[in-house]
Each structure stands twice: as structure tokens, then as C-alpha cells.
């Protein structure tokens, strides 16, 4: 393609506009390519469901929907049927499909302190959908590819991947838009916007712990510190003089208690012992009468196998048994610790108690072996 042809192609084909009115404006209609993205989103949604990745917790989901409903008027819900789901994943993250399906990782939910933080997250994600970020980014990619192709024939080398990256920059713009608009929704709903930076502080803490690059929730830009700073600036400039809103900590913690426990288990399975312990302690504090709190703390100590871990584990198992003498699992775990320590008689007693409480235990064959070799 010669220079003239390239320029003509650029002019004739033009660029699909990335300036689209938000779904919150009147007369919102899906465009053709957007409809395709929604279809793809529906397929992705089916895959998540079929893969068992979504928690089937109707009560929790109903609570999340309730919070989301406070953030946008029914007219917007009519245009985008939002639905918030919880994904079985301990990493702090959340993402939105173009059709308004919002997926919040269990890890994210378990780490939050109150409803205001949840509202901040949901409002950010909902803004991605209302402001049609998926189709805008899709068109942006297409346009840049077309521009790059044309530029490459005019100025060889400019249309390379590096050149393409140089003309891009939507992620930063869209994430900032989602922060800005999202915070407005949070404030308008009466929530305490001062809680927003706390959400990000949790995220930063996890990133430091995991020594990982930033998750989707932040997009690629701006970096997390800049993001926290941006939130602080926004809050000070736009909401500084307002009285603090509500945070609904109590209701939030009551509704998310089971997810805190489930997520601590996921963290333990992923070998993220620090996060698992934090979650288990949070859960134990939320429900001090539940035996599974100290049992989980015992499991973390046993599996972490650090110095003194066995003693700590035994103490936690005893606490769990004191809370619920019919709870079988602490007996099995206690038996394992004692068995490995060589205290065969005490181990046998614990294992026998375990099997008496859980005769159909899935690991019965192992336990019978331990009992047999402890005689």
C-alpha cells in the first residue's frame, strides 16, 4: 500500500467512535459490536457457572444486589441488568463483564471491613459497564490497529507493537473515570467516601505480601500508589466539606461471615499462610462461639510446620473441642500431630474418637492405618 492509498484507507474506513454516551443517559441503545460483546459475556458467564467457580450463596448474593441497587436508579438497571456474583478465589480482585455481570473474588469480600468499602468497589465496577468501557476499549484496539497499519506504510516502524502502545492509553483514562464516577455514586448513596482509600490499603497490603503485580481491579494504570493518592485528592476536593456518610460495618460483617471462613480455607489451600491466619482470626472474632474458627487456626499452624507450630495447633484443636465436643475434625488433626510426634497412645485415642464421631469419614482408610500401627 503506498502513502496515498494508506491515507485514503484511513479516511474512508475512518475510526469507530470511542466516544459513546453512558448507559445512564436517555435513549441508550446497544450498538452492533457491543451486542456481540454482550453475547460473548453471556458465554463467559455460562462457563463460570458450569465450572463451579461461583459461590451458590443466594442470601449473600441478595445482599450484594441490595447494595448495588442503592448505587444506580432503576432506569439504569433496566438498561444493564447488573448481577453481582462471588467467585471462589482468594486473590483480591473483581471484574465486570460488559453486560453488567460483576464478579467479586471471595478474597476481596473477605478482606473488606464494611459496606462503604463494598459500595466503592461495586460503584467502580458498575461504572465500567455504564460507561461502556468494554466496547470503547474494543474499538480503541481496532482503531489503533487500523492506524498502526496505515502509519506503518507511511512511516515504517511506527506501526509496530511499540508504536501501537505509544498511541494507546485508554486503560488509565477509563480506570480514572471509574474511580471518579464510582465515588460520586458512593457519595450520592450516602456512604462514607472516606472508606474508599481503606479498600485500596487492603489491596496494597496483599500485593506486598504476595510480591505480585497489580490485579485487574486496578487496570494497568495508574499504579496503585498513584491510585490511592487520586482517591485521597478526589475525596478532599469534592467531598471534604460533607459530613461523613454511613459505613454499615455491622450488617456487612454479619452477611459476609461465612465467606470470611471459606476464603481463609482457600488461602490455606493456596499456602498463603499469613492471609489464611488473618482471615481465620477475623472469622474467630466475628463468631467466637464457632468451633471451626480455632480448628482452622490449628490447621494453619499444623500445615505451616513452623517452629512451635505443633504446640499451637494442639492448643487450637483443644479450644475447638471445648466449643463443640461433637466436632470430629479437630480429633483427627490432633491425632496426626500426636502420631508424628510419636505419642502413639494419645494419637490412637484421638483417631478412635474421630472415627466414632465421623464413621463415614472420607479419610477413614488412612486413619485405620494410623490406629493399626499405634497398637
Amino acid at each position: 500500500m503506498n502513502q496515498r492509498a494508506a491515507i485514503v484507507a484511513l479516511v474512508v474506513f475512518g475510526c469507530a467512535t470511542t466516544k459513546l454516551p453512558p448507559a445512564t443517559s436517555s435513549g441508550f441503545r446497544l450498538e452492533e459490536d457491543e451486542r456481540n460483546l454482550w453475547r460473548q459475556a453471556e458465554e463467559a458467564e455460562q462457563r463460570f457457572e458450569a465450572g463451579g467457580l461461583v459461590y451458590p450463596d443466594a442470601e449473600l448474593e441478595s445482599y450484594l444486589q441490595e447494595v448495588a441497587r442503592r448505587l444506580l436508579p432503576p432506569s439504569v438497571w433496566a438498561a444493564i441488568p447488573f448481577r453481582v456474583r462471588v467467585v471462589r478465589n482468594p486473590y483480591l480482585n473483581a471484574f465486570t463483564l460488559p453486560n453488567g455481570r460483576i464478579y467479586v473474588h471471595a478474597g476481596m469480600l473477605a478482606r473488606m471491613d464494611n459496606e462503604a468499602q463494598l459500595a466503592t468497589l461495586l460503584a467502580h465496577e458498575m461504572t465500567h459497564a455504564t460507561h461502556r468501557h468494554a466496547v470503547r476499549e474494543f474499538r480503541d484496539l481496532q482503531n489503533n490497529a487500523a492506524v498502526a497499519l496505515s502509519l506503518n506504510s507511511i512511516l515504517p516502524g511506527v506501526g509496530s507493537v511499540a508504536g501501537l502502545s505509544a498511541v494507546r492509553g485508554y486503560s488509565r483514562e477509563m480506570e480514572t473515570e471509574a474511580d471518579d464516577q464510582g465515588l460520586r455514586l458512593v457519595a450520592d448513596a450516602g456512604y462514607d467516601v472516606q472508606e474508599a482509600p481503606a479498600l485500596f490499603a487492603h489491596l496494597k497490603e496483599q500485593l506486598v505480601e504476595d510480591n505480585k503485580s497489580e490485579p485487574f481491579f486496578f487496570g494497568t494504570h495508574p499504579a496503585l500508589d498513584a491510585r490511592i493518592e487520586n482517591y485521597r485528592r478526589l475525596i478532599q476536593a469534592q467531598y471534604g466539606g460533607r459530613p461523613r456518610g454511613f459505613s454499615n460495618a455491622e450488617a456487612f460483617l454479619a452477611r459476609t461471615r461465612s465467606i470470611v471462613y471459606e476464603n481463609a480455607l482457600l488461602d490455606l489451600r493456596a499456602g498463603r499462610f499469613v492471609a489464611a491466619e488473618r482471615g481465620a482470626r477475623k472469622y474467630a472474632g466475628m463468631d467466637p462461639s464457632a468451633a471451626r474458627g480455632p480448628f482452622l487456626l490449628g490447621e494453619i499452624s499444623r500445615q505451616r510446620a513452623a517452629d512451635g507450630g505443633a504446640e499451637t495447633a494442639l492448643a487450637e484443636y483443644r479450644r475447638a473441642i471445648a466449643l463443640d465436643a461433637a466436632y470430629a475434625d479437630p480429633y483427627r488433626a490432633m491425632g496426626l500431630v500426636l502420631y508424628k510426634r510419636g505419642d502413639k497412645a494419645a494419637a490412637r485415642e484421638a483417631f478412635e474418637k474421630y472415627l466414632s464421631l465421623a464413621p463415614q469419614a472420607a479419610d477413614r482408610a488412612y486413619v485405620e492405618q494410623y490406629i493399626g500401627s499405634s497398637r
Binding site: R47, G51, R88, N89, G271, Y339, A362, D363, Y366
Partner: protein
């Protein structure tokens, strides 16, 4: 014709020379009886008609393609995180504890959070106390799939044999073959001894 043969010969020599200058193990080779890992750490007998993809300390075998059935034999060092979990194998672990690490690595893998454990029990592997796990899950395309994992700790290494196939038709069809492979699996006594066999 002669000219064509000559040209063919030149091409063949060029190819041979190219191969000779950069020897590479074939990616897939026909399985033929006993196979000893390139590291010498284990030996296993693979069925005729299957193809084998060997690596230094591991192998993949399949007959109809890895999406229809695959057997993996792998080794893993104690003290190193396994896959998607940061948990590690440790010397002196009970088979049930080692099974717990494998189970957690599987369910912590992306897309595997919905996997369900069907069986977890003790099993003999290479004449040593090990474990057997059976999982059911859906692959990325939603296909119902099953996997069996046998594992054993020996010295500073963990040895794993895994069979994975779509639940319908393939899984039951090749299960006996996998059990025969598992029964033939041997850990090199020299390697296990040098590394402190348990």
C-alpha cells in the same frame, strides 16, 4: 528423474546435517515397553500403541491425543512450592499430608476451584506407602473430566503419576491401562538411596 533423486539427496543431506548440528530429542516417540527417565530416577512400562513425550524428569503419554487421555509421570523436589499452592512437600510427611499438598495444588489452580474430590486414600506406589486421589472437574470448555493421582515421597523427591481423561467413554476405557502403568512404576534404588529413601 535422476536429477530429481540427486536434488532429493542434497535436501536430505542438508536436513540430516542440520539435525546433526543441533541434536534435539524427538517431541513424541512411540512407547515401547520399559522406559527409564533421562535422569534415571524412575522406570515405567508404557503400553504399545501409545506415544510418549519424554522430559528429563517427567513424561507425558497418550494414545489418541492429550485432550482425550493423558498419563503424566512427574517428579518434584521437597521444599519447593507445587504449582498454584505455596505449600511444599517435606521429608517425613505422612502420605495423607502429601496428598493434602497435591489436592490443594489442584484446587488452587486457575479454573479448578470447582473441582470435587471423589476419593482420597492410602495406596502403594513403587512398593512404598503413598496415596491415591480421584478428582472430577470440568475443563475450560465445560467438558466433564476425571483425574486420578497416585503419589509417593521417597527421599528428597515426590513422585506423581496422573491419569486424566473425559469422564464419558475415555476415562473408564483407559483406566486399566493406567493401573498397569502405575503397577510397573519403579523408583531407581540408587537415586532414592542416594537421596535418602524413606
Amino acid at each position: 528423474m535422476k536429477r530429481m533423486e540427486k536434488r532429493g539427496l542434497v535436501v536430505a543431506v542438508a536436513l540430516t546435517a542440520a539435525c546433526a548440528s543441533a541434536p534435539r530429542p524427538p517431541r513424541w516417540i512411540p512407547a515401547a515397553g520399559d522406559y527409564t527417565a533421562q535422569s534415571g530416577r524412575f522406570t515405567v512400562r508404557l503400553p504399545n500403541g501409545w506415544m510418549l513425550h519424554p522430559e528429563t524428569d517427567s513424561l507425558i503419554a497418550s494414545r489418541d491425543g492429550v485432550f482425550l487421555q493423558r498419563i503424566d509421570v512427574r517428579t518434584h523436589e521437597v521444599g519447593k512450592p507445587l504449582g498454584s499452592t505455596k505449600k511444599v512437600f517435606a521429608r517425613g510427611m505422612l502420605p495423607q499430608e502429601a496428598a493434602e499438598v497435591v489436592q490443594d495444588a489442584i484446587v488452587s489452580s486457575p479454573g479448578m476451584q470447582g473441582a470435587s474430590l471423589i476419593e482420597n486414600g492410602p495406596a502403594e506406589v513403587a512398593g512404598r506407602p503413598g496415596f491415591k486421589l480421584v478428582f472430577a472437574f470440568k475443563d475450560g470448555d465445560g467438558l466433564k473430566t476425571k483425574a486420578v493421582v497416585y503419589g509417593v515421597l521417597a527421599g528428597d523427591s515426590f513422585y506423581e503419576l496422573m491419569y486424566r481423561a473425559p469422564e464419558r467413554y475415555y476415562f473408564p476405557r483407559d483406566m486399566d491401562t493406567f493401573e498397569a502403568v502405575r503397577a510397573s512404576f519403579r523408583i531407581s534404588s540408587e537415586v532414592a538411596g542416594a537421596r535418602g529413601a524413606q
